[in-house]
């Protein structure tokens, strides 16, 4: 301790004393340039690898998780609707509906398995995944029991079905929404991490510092000596400039790509997904209203609320999608028009049911015509979703371009600049010995 205290002022004084004579100044300049060079190299490595990790996480984990959460949600909603429609059809459930229900459950469980891999151990997403895993098997068991009873002509089958539907709507779907919203949050955070703006700013600042320091050193040398140019220092400056320009290019291109991925990829993906969920919810409301056989009730009120949301200009379905991509705009317009046709058909269903023609209402609701109208809406929305997913993947992989080069090449170039600066100044220094 005491020695450290005793020596420190000595060291400081010695270093401070250096600036009073030329060799000392040169030594200080060497330390400054090499120090800045090493820091720049280090920052280039850290910024590059952190942005790369962030971009990969966004593209390979957060965004796929969002898609999976939506798949789970929509598959569950569709399974509920399909089960209710099969029930409405009466008799043995139609094979097409059974197949669709099975597909829905398969999609939900597959997506659930991979979502489990992509969620961190703790947090609300993990809780949602656990509840869903347990709930989906309970749900499918209830539906299976309902089917078995139905096959034997026991009315208890319909009670099992309503128990299953309650579980689906009141427990599973809210959990799926929780997962969906959690994933949306993760995507938003993911953009911050992928940008790694903090590290990038430090890197650019330190590179700028290095360039300025090199320039000032050369001016100092050319004034002090008769040599106008110091070749190694010029080389160091060139290398640093290359590194700076390279970094800025990569940075600007990456930020642009990320911006595009966020505004034209993730954003539209989330709202198209929302449209699809709402449309499925409306179709489910229709089936459940008929299954309850109690006239227009709470599910019908829900239908109205959902339909209004979907038809609202500026909402998730009717929006300026055409500005992003004309083809996407056409797809979404077709979806919105299809939904209008479906709402018309639905009004007819309600009119029939409310005027006492229950059988007619069921026939119209689960009949081929209305089913086709609704399926068209769904197909268009699926297509739109694919369009944006593709765009996102493309932009994100482009955003990752060059980051690897920065991680590896950045430190190497910075090191080269250090070595060159050192050589250039040491030759001058040796002239004093």
């Amino acid at each position: 301790m005491s020695t450290a205290l005793a020596t420190r002022p000595g060291v400081l004084r010695r270093v401070g004393g250096l600036r009073h004579h030329s060799p000392g100044r040169l030594q200080l300049l060497i330390a400054l340039l090499v120090g800045l060079g090493l820091i720049s190299g280090l920052l280039a490595g850290v910024a590059g690898s952190s942005a790369r990790a962030g971009t990969n996480d966004l593209g390979d984990r957060a965004q796929p998780l969002l898609i999976e959460a939506e798949t789970i949600y929509s598959a569950l909603a569709d399974a509920d609707t399909t089960a209710a429609q099969a029930f409405l059809a009466g008799g043995l459930e139609p094979a097409a509906l059974t197949r669709r229900y099975d597909d829905d459950l398969a999609r939900a469980t597959t997506a659930l398995t991979s979502a489990a891999r992509r969620t961190p151990e703790d947090g609300r997403a993990a809780t949602a995944v656990r509840t869903l895993s347990a709930g989906v098997s309970e749900y499918s068991a209830l539906v299976a029991t309902a089917r078995a009873n139905n096959r034997q002509g026991l009315p208890i089958g319909s009670s099992y079905l309503s128990e299953a539907s309650r579980l689906n709507r009141d427990t599973l779907q809210p959990q799926a929404r929780e997962l969906f919203e959690g994933a949306q949050q993760e995507v938003e955070d993911g953009y911050g991490k992928a940008g790694a703006l903090g590290w990038m700013t430090l890197l650019v600042l330190s590179l700028a510092g290095l360039v300025i320091a090199l320039a000032l050193t050369q001016r100092y040398l050319s004034r002090r000596t008769r040599r106008t140019f110091n070749l190694p220092l010029l080389g160091a400056t060139a290398v640093t400039l290359v590194l700076t320009i390279g970094t800025l290019t990569i940075l600007i291109s990456q930020q642009t790509r990320l911006d595009r991925a966020a505004n034209q990829g993730s954003g539209p993906v989330a709202s198209i997904a929302e449209s699809r969920l709402l449309a499925l919810q409306a179709r489910g409301d229709e089936a459940l209203t008929l299954a309850a056989r109690a006239g227009s009730g709470p599910y019908e009120q829900d239908f109205d609320a959902v339909a209004e949301q979907l038809r609202r200009p500026g909402g998730p379905m009717v929006n300026g999608y055409g500005r992003l991509d004309p083809a996407l705009g056409r797809t979404m317009t077709r979806a919105a028009e299809g939904f209008e046709r479906y709402v018309t058909a639905h009004s007819d269903v309600r009119a029939l049911d409310d005027s006492g023609d229950y059988e007619g209402a069921v026939k119209l609701a689960v009949g081929a015509e209305t089913t086709k109208t609704f399926e068209e809406v769904r197909t268009e929305l699926d297509r739109a979703l694919e369009n944006r997913k593709e765009f996102f993947t493309q932009e994100i992989s482009a955003a990752g371009d060059g980051l690897g080069l920065l991680t590896v090449g950045g430190p190497l170039l910075a090191l080269a600049a250090c070595v060159l600066a050192f050589i250039g100044l040491r030759t001058r220094l040796e002239e004093y010995r």
């Binding site: 008799g91 009315p155 309503s162 929404r177 409301d285 056989r293 109690a294 009730g297 009120q301 006492g356």
Partner: protein
């Protein structure tokens, strides 16, 4: 989530609307439309003001002979129904034998539904001019009282409390409450089931009666009796208690269940109607009277309940 909110709103609205009705069991802490509404509250009974003494079986006397179908007296409620073109029947869709959905055809059918169809036939000359609206057990009184259905025939017990809000027809079926348990159970009657979880439909008299049993079983409310059977099969409850007729329909669907004990209550079933139309109650009573006399009642009994033995004599109508 939106639906849930909507449900809460409707439940609340219904509760407010029913505040003035004494006949419903609405103050119960159960929300039948909500998921897993297992009310493990000690069941009600006793703490409510006793209804005015009355003879719940005594209804309004029919006025003369029935008008021919399609020619209802002007200004009567039957004429309104005739003009509308269909009779709206409120019932359930999961009470096997009384009103349940036939899984093969999708039609709702049973003893109660046939009661409604006979009224429709008397008005229109066509039993198919009927619209079936499924209502919750806890909505039976309010649906009849607010005119959202014309008649309620839904294993509904006529009692003095409900008479305050609706008109009942004469009694068309005499039931009594029993309890259904697992075949392996050693219980002989509801008195052996103290502390056990016994399910019944929210808003039914059966649910209230469970609370009056001295052995203190735990009453569990479900939205409908079908949900009770689901709960029983999933081991959520040890038994189900309600009218023997409904239990018979359940036992018929589950070979591992049995109905035990003597009837510990009397449940006279009658058709509920809006109190504003006494002429309609008289008309319905006239239809029931005719059908008792001409053997229609017996045929209906044999059709749905024949498996339990030969038809008894129909309940004798009592009038005020």
């Amino acid at each position: 989530m939106r639906v849930r909110a909507a449900l809460v709103v409707t439940v609340l609205a219904a509760t407010t609307a029913l505040a003035g009705c004494s006949g419903d069991t609405s103050p119960l802490p159960v929300t039948p439309d909500r998921p897993r509404a297992i009310a493990t509250t000690p069941a009600p009974g006793g703490d409510k003001p006793a209804p005015p003494a009355c003879n719940p079986r005594a209804s309004l006397r029919p006025a003369g002979s029935l008008p021919p179908p399609g020619e209802m007296p002007a200004g009567s409620y039957m004429a309104t129904i005739l003009q509308r073109g269909r009779l709206v029947l409120g019932t359930s869709q999961d009470t096997l034998l009384f009103s349940s959905r036939n899984p093969f055809s999708g039609e709702i059918e049973g003893f109660d539904v046939d009661m409604g169809r006979q009224i429709a036939e008397a008005i229109f000359g066509d039993p198919d001019k009927i619209q079936i609206k499924v209502i919750g057990y806890d909505k039976r009184v309010s649906s009849a009282a607010d005119g959202s259905v014309d008649i309620v025939a839904d294993t509904m017990t006529a009692n003095c409390e409900r008479w305050a809000d609706v008109n009942f027809s004469s009694v068309y079926y005499e039931a009594g409450q029993k309890v259904l348990v697992a075949k392996a159970s050693k219980a002989k009657s509801i008195n052996d089931l103290g502390g056990k979880r016994i399910c019944s439909a929210a808003g039914s008299t059966s649910f209230e009666n469970i609370g009056k049993v001295k052995a203190k079983p735990v009453a569990v409310a479900k939205p409908a009796f079908g949900d009770c059977l689901v709960a029983f099969q999933r081991n959520e409850v040890e038994g189900i208690s309600t009218d023997d007729t409904i239990l018979a329909g359940m036992a018929a669907q589950d070979p591992y269940a049995k109905v035990i004990g003597p009837r510990f209550t009397e449940e006279p079933y009658a058709i509920a109607m809006d109190k504003k139309h006494p002429e309609f109650a008289r008309f319905v009573n006239a239809v029931l009277e005719r059908n008792r006399a001409n053997g229609t009642w017996k045929r209906t009994y044999d059709k749905w309940l024949g498996d339990f033995g030969p038809a008894p004599t129909p309940p004798k109508a009592q009038y005020r």
